[in-house]
């Protein structure tokens, strides 16, 4: 075995594309940023240069509240690389206050059904992973 932690034991780190770079640089700055269409006022995610509702390209980046609720989840028993110490761990869909949903883990709380109640309030936090900062959600007021 080599000592290379980038593949076998490190958690997966994504890479941005030109269209998503402002999202990821926002995460690096500790901000959750979403695009909002300036024509129809629709917040959407994931990032793209065209509003999926009205096709306007007049879209702007906004720093959003980071408030969300727990929409649904699974508790996954077979860990991905780097997740062995977390297993079993929740893979969740969070409902952002501004409208869009995102995938997330649920951190700073035991990942058991009794502690993960649908619609419970959550807030964003950021996890450093290599060069990338990954948005994660935790119970609101947990810190």
């Amino acid at each position: 075995m080599t000592a290379d932690t980038s593949s076998a034991t490190a958690k997966f780190a994504p890479q941005s594309t030109p269209e998503t770079e402002p999202f990821w640089s926002g995460c690096a700055a500790g901000e959750l940023r979403l695009q909002r269409c300036q024509q129809c006022r629709w917040f959407y995610f994931p990032p793209r240069p065209i509003c999926p509702k009205c096709w306007s390209s007049d879209v702007e980046w906004n720093v959003v509240s980071g408030r969300a609720t727990l929409h649904s989840y699974v508790i996954n028993y077979r860990p991905a690389p780097g997740f062995a110490d977390d297993a079993p761990y929740a893979i969740a869909v969070v409902q952002l206050d501004e409208g869009p949903r995102m995938l997330s883990n649920i951190v700073d709380v035991e990942n058991v059904p009794e502690k993960l109640i649908l619609d419970m309030p959550l807030e964003v936090t950021f996890e450093q992973r290599g060069d990338m900062s990954i948005p994660q959600f935790r119970p609101a007021g947990a810190s």
């Binding site: 890479q15 929409h71 699974v74 028993y77 077979r78 761990y89």
Partner: protein, 389 residues
């Protein structure tokens, strides 16, 4: 103008073996399935001038270019739609359209997958930039069990579906599998067996997840008109209605985590084209990678109202003797699941319409085969019949 009754499946067969086939590659499974399906209808293979399978470039892992070359065929029409396991319903639809418009005269659609043994499967390259890689993969998903059931807890909260009702899905399908010697899991199970099986991805237990197998299947199609003049080993199975749709490459971005838009759009199109309603359906296949798929399917295809599917299955309506026989080969949960199961659902619909299924249902005239693709990313639906009503 629709596709109702213009095309027919004249040959249909699976690989000779199913389950663990470590001595055959993915490509080998495709070729055997093709040969078996051609033998099933008795045509000269060189009549085939349309070739389709999933797989979009020559190496991932088998495209229609590969199957054409290895089978010595020169296609005038090819299709490599590859959006998940329900792609085979779409390929049948596309083949029907190609046959209807004269793009080809005899079409071959093949499936082969070394899902269990992994023989002849190229390694996937590292993907760090696709939408999925950026916005879902960082959260530690490992295969289908970690993402496909993502909406089940929401479904339970909104509709009242219980864990016991979810567990009743594999119990019902195992009853069909028990009558099918080719099914890979045939021992009867109870709801307690399901709920006591190992947790794979809460709320899904092992027995609520599909089997993993090697195998394949193929169908041969031509126009209904040409089929009538051919000397065939089995009567044709007609394509009466077809539909397809797509929603999102990321399950977290479904508009509604408790209902598949692709299911609704695809099935509505197929039923409308066939000119049928749910009450006309004698036999139903709903691609079941996981126990919740038939529950979503029964509701989204309109067989039951919102929130009724769990009780409908638990009460025996889809079991042997029930009024809507469903997944009568045992399904992905008990028959076999190679990874892209759609071809096997179509095969069972054809067998039921021919009257040759191991667990044959009496009087099947209309069968629906509905395929889910890449979780709830996309869907394809076929209404098949042994007559053109």
């Amino acid at each position: 103008m629709g596709l109702r009754g213009v095309a027919a499946i004249i040959g249909a067969a699976e690989t000779t073996r199913l389950g663990k086939i470590p001595d055959m590659s993915v490509l080998g499974l495709h070729l055997e399935a093709a040969r078996n399906a051609v033998a099933d209808c008795g045509i000269d293979p060189h009549q085939i001038d349309g070739v389709a399978t999933t797989g979009s470039v020559n190496i991932t892992p088998v495209s229609p270019v590969v199957t054409s070359h290895y089978l010595g065929l020169t296609p005038r029409w090819i299709d490599s739609t590859s959006v998940g396991g329900g792609s085979f319903m779409m390929l049948v639809r596309h083949a029907a359209a190609a046959l209807a418009t004269g793009l080809c005269e005899v079409a071959l659609i093949t499936h082969g997958e070394s899902g269990r043994s992994g023989v002849g499967v190229p390694e996937l390259g590292a993907d760090h930039t696709s939408p999925w890689a950026q916005f879902e993969r960082p959260y530690g998903p490992v295969g289908a069990p970690s993402l496909f059931p993502l909406g089940v807890l929401r479904f339970m909260k909104e509709t009242g579906l219980t864990h016991e009702q979810l567990a009743a899905v594999p119990v019902a399908q195992r009853k069909w599998a028990a009558m099918n010697p080719r099914a890979l899991a045939r021992d009867p199970i109870t709801i307690d067996d399901v709920l006591n099986s190992r947790m794979v991805s809460y709320p899904m237990h092992l027995l609520e997840c599909c089997l993993v197998a090697d195998g394949g299947g193929a169908v041969v199609m031509t126009t209904a008109e040409r089929a009538r003049d051919m000397d065939l080993a089995h009567p044709p199975v007609y394509v009466l209605g077809t539909g397809e749709s797509a929603e999102t490459p990321m399950i977290s971005q479904m508009q509604d985590m408790t209902s598949s838009k692709a299911f609704r759009v695809s099935s509505a199109a197929a039923f409308a084209e066939a000119g049928i309603t749910q009450g006309d359906v004698d036999h139903l296949m709903i691609y079941d990678a996981f126990a919740h798929n038939p529950i979503y399917g029964l509701e989204d295809l309109g067989f039951v109202n919102r929130g009724e599917a769990g009780d409908f299955i638990a009460s025996g309506n889809t079991s042997p003797g029930g009024r809507l026989p469903m997944n009568t080969n045992g399904g992905g949960l008990s028959y076999a699941h190679t990874g892209m199961y759609g071809m096997f659902a179509i095969q069972e619909s054809v067998r039921q319409l021919r009257g040759t299924a191991p667990a044959q249902v009496d009087g099947v005239r209309i069968s629906v085969a509905h395929g889910v693709a890449a979780y709830f990313a996309a869907a394809g639906t076929l209404v098949l019949g042994n007559d053109i009503p």
